[in-house]
């Protein structure tokens, strides 16, 4: 088990290193000269050169990379070129916001879609199954900005049940924050429900058809016990893997949702940074999302191994 974890951890570190190199290289490749972009087309060549020198972008690339990454690992994310304040002071609250939204969406979508998948599998081929599958698939195939706008118009503008902006007033309590996050979470549930329910349904059906499930039924165990003790445990393995891969999306990839609900999340920060060529913010933002993503995958791997003895005892890898 510890060997397995160590190996996974090592792989995560290597992935992060590669990610940092790619992000850094990509931002170097973005068109335009930093000084020219900030100072405008009419600035003199000397001013541009002076600006670039002051911001260190005229030094060798490897040198620049080392400065950035060595500061990054020590928690110093540098100054935002765009706003002239420390990147940490901007990305920190944004990351917390993103985590809050992701957490609420996660808490809503996981039980609902697992329940949906289980029910569909148990009622395989019947009307309930069809309704769950068709509704889930339809919702997944509609882009999130469409579902989000429909939700905003119905619940926010027409019925006025829920606030249309995800940003809560300063000093708002726990429940007010939840209230503001409900609409965007619903939009995310709509996107992910079909996907997770479908995987759960497939896993369930496979497990229900397996010999051990038949044996359990035949030896007279009550249905609930068969499902919770024997079937679910095996059926959920692929579901966990899928949910883990969606975590990265839930934290770093919600640009559209964040824009529509005007939410100060990390996705929007990265997007604006890319638009305004704010490299320090862009690089650190992407690295943080990468970190979160890899941590989520690591947690999923551990969970996987807990549920699957073949991995735990080193039988399979």
């Amino acid at each position: 088990m510890s060997r397995f974890l160590l190996k996974r951890f090592g792989l995560a570190v290597i992935t992060l290193f590669l990610l940092s190199v790619i992000v850094f290289a990509a931002s170097q490749l973005l068109p335009g000269n930093l000084g020219r972009n900030i100072l405008g087309p009419f600035a003199s060549r000397q001013d541009v050169a002076q600006y670039n020198h002051a911001h260190g972008v005229d030094r060798p690339v490897v040198d620049q990379y080392w400065t950035w990454i060595s500061h990054f690992v020590r928690g110093n994310l540098g100054q935002s070129l765009q706003y002239n304040v420390s990147v940490g002071s901007l990305l920190g609250p944004s990351l917390v916001n993103s985590l809050k939204l992701a957490a609420l969406a996660f808490v809503l979508v996981v039980p609902i879609s697992i329940l949906g998948g289980v029910v569909a599998a148990l009622r395989r081929g019947r009307a309930t199954d069809r309704v769950i599958t068709v509704v889930g698939l339809s919702l997944t195939s509609i882009p999130e900005f469409v579902t989000a706008i429909v939700f905003i118009v119905i619940f926010g503008v027409l019925l006025k049940w829920l606030p249309v902006g995800a940003a809560w007033p300063t000093g708002a309590g726990f429940f007010t924050q939840i209230k503001h996050l409900l609409l965007p979470s619903f939009a995310l549930v709509a996107v992910l429900f079909g996907y997770i329910a479908r995987i759960t349904r497939a896993g369930m059906i496979e497990a229900l058809d397996a010999d051990y499930a038949r044996t359990a039924y035949l030896k007279g165990l009550p249905a609930a016990r068969v499902i919770f003790r024997h079937v679910l445990r095996n059926a959920l393995l692929p579901t966990i893997a899928v949910i883990a891969t969606q975590t990265g999306y839930l934290i770093g990839g919600l640009l559209v949702i964040e824009k529509l609900f005007n939410y100060n999340g990390i996705g929007q920060r990265i997007y604006v940074a890319a638009q305004n060529k704010d490299f320090t913010m862009l690089q650190s933002g992407v690295m943080i999302v990468g970190l979160v993503y890899l941590s989520a995958t690591l947690v999923a791997d551990i969970l996987y191994s807990v549920l699957n003895p073949r991995i735990r005892y080193g039988g399979a890898d």
Binding site: P31, G32, L39, P41, F42, S80, Q82, Y83, N84, V85, L90, P93, I149, I152, V153, G156, V157, K160, P163, V164, G165, A167, P169, T170, K259, L260, F261, N262, N264, Q268, R269, V272, N276
Partner: protein, 567 residues
Amino acid sequence: MNRKSMREADELRRLAGPIEGNVIDELVDGEMDRSTFIKRASVAGLSFASIGTILEAFGHPGIAHAAVAAGKAGGRLRLGIIPGPARDLEPSAFADHGTLATGSICGEFLTRSRQNLTLAPELATSWKSNADGTQWAFNIRKGVKFANGQPLTAADVVATYKRLTDPNGGSSALSAFKGLLGPGGIKAVGDHTVVFYLQAASASFPYLTSNTTYQAIILPANYQMGTFSKTPQTTGPFVMTSYTPGVGAKFDRNPNWWNGPALLDGVDVTYYSDNAAVDAALLGGQLDLISQVNYSSDRPLFHNGNVVIFSTSGAPHRQIAMLVQTAAANPALKDYRVRQAIALAFDRDTAVKQLLGGYGDVGNDSPFAPVYPSTDKSVPQRHQDLAAAKKLLQQSGHGRGFSVTLTTEKFQEIPQLAQLLAANAKKIGVNIKLNIITSDAYYGGTYSGGATGRGTTPWLNSPMDITDWGHRSVPNVVLTSAVHSGGVWNEADYSSKVVDKAIADYEAALSLKDQRKYAKIIETQMLHDSPYIFPYFFKWTQAGSKRVKGFKADAIGTQALGKVSLG
């Protein structure tokens, strides 16, 4: 006319400086109507009381001081600013809507340009020029305090304007003051008078001290760059209490405001980057006011019974440029008759109706917008005339039509404008192919050097293009930069000796009569040469809920909220 007011007017005429005197004479001669007189006299520095006296003396109705219905005090206004500041909040470097809209909630200027382009006193109480308009003296208001408690003096104004005109200080206002005012030309005389020694005569200089130059927020002499959003140090109705880049800002009522106190308890600003989000927030009751809306991108707010549109005529516009001579020019477009034909084929009335929802004034192919007092309105308005257009094409030898590529940016209604123009041109056999690129790409590249001296940027080097232009209180910047043969933004590479001379004369002209005379020359010649189509001038539009009372939109986009209340 009564004897007393006649006597007072005579007295004023005697005391008036030469520019003020000119304005008064033009009213007496009947060359100026009442509303134009008010506009011009306010720029020249006459007080509103004097303007009223003169009007009454010469048989015009005086200025009705419509009592402003006192709004209900209290409440916090929730303002959505879109897009939010793209940069650090540093007044002298303001260059985008987000920064200027935010800064204008707490900051004030020497003067304020109002909706009808009259100039009202703000931190200056009066101003006056010398005989030839090369020196302007401003009297600074007494008893004003900055939010940090320091009193406002002439030294603060001098320091502010030195920062704005410092060639090495990163000021965005440099282009406005270029050739007019340098740091050496700003002097304090005593504690409450500032004199601006101009490098060239200008009758419209006072406009540059208003919110038109939105960077010109008066700050204390000991202001440190980079502290604007950290320490409150402005004079306005509100004090900034918090600011988070990309998220929002908070303002509280300034208890010591000289013109106050403000009716609102405060203003809560939220920054938006998405039109659908800001529209939904207003419709869903989470915002009271949006800093700018646009008919093309915020359609649900227009013609909606629950939304009030605050608008004002202005001069933001589009310019459809046709390169007239550079190597990149289309051979057919080098002929003025072809350019005239395209301008005549274009249906500008439909454009205003369909693309702007009626919130705009039709343009007449020169920078002279209907809102400017100096515009000569006797010059005939150009309308669509397909028969005349076809005839011109025939005369030029292009009767069978030709093809040309129009390059423009994907910004607001511009792609639709390009399509409308292409559809109109098709009717006379001209095939306009559209190349619509991002704004970044359109304005990207270099602006000088290369074979043509015009760099590589698409907007100065395409045979046809459409560019977005912001509001100016006077047409001077557009004339010198886009129409004059030496202009740095002369997209059409237009060069006319007649127009160049008329522009110089126009800029030096002190009386409205003379300005109109030169405006007419420019307007007429530009209609003939047609290097540009000016399809329309926008009205500035903002949207708010019905609760917002007493708000007046400003064509520059500053947000003056001191007298606003929530009903």
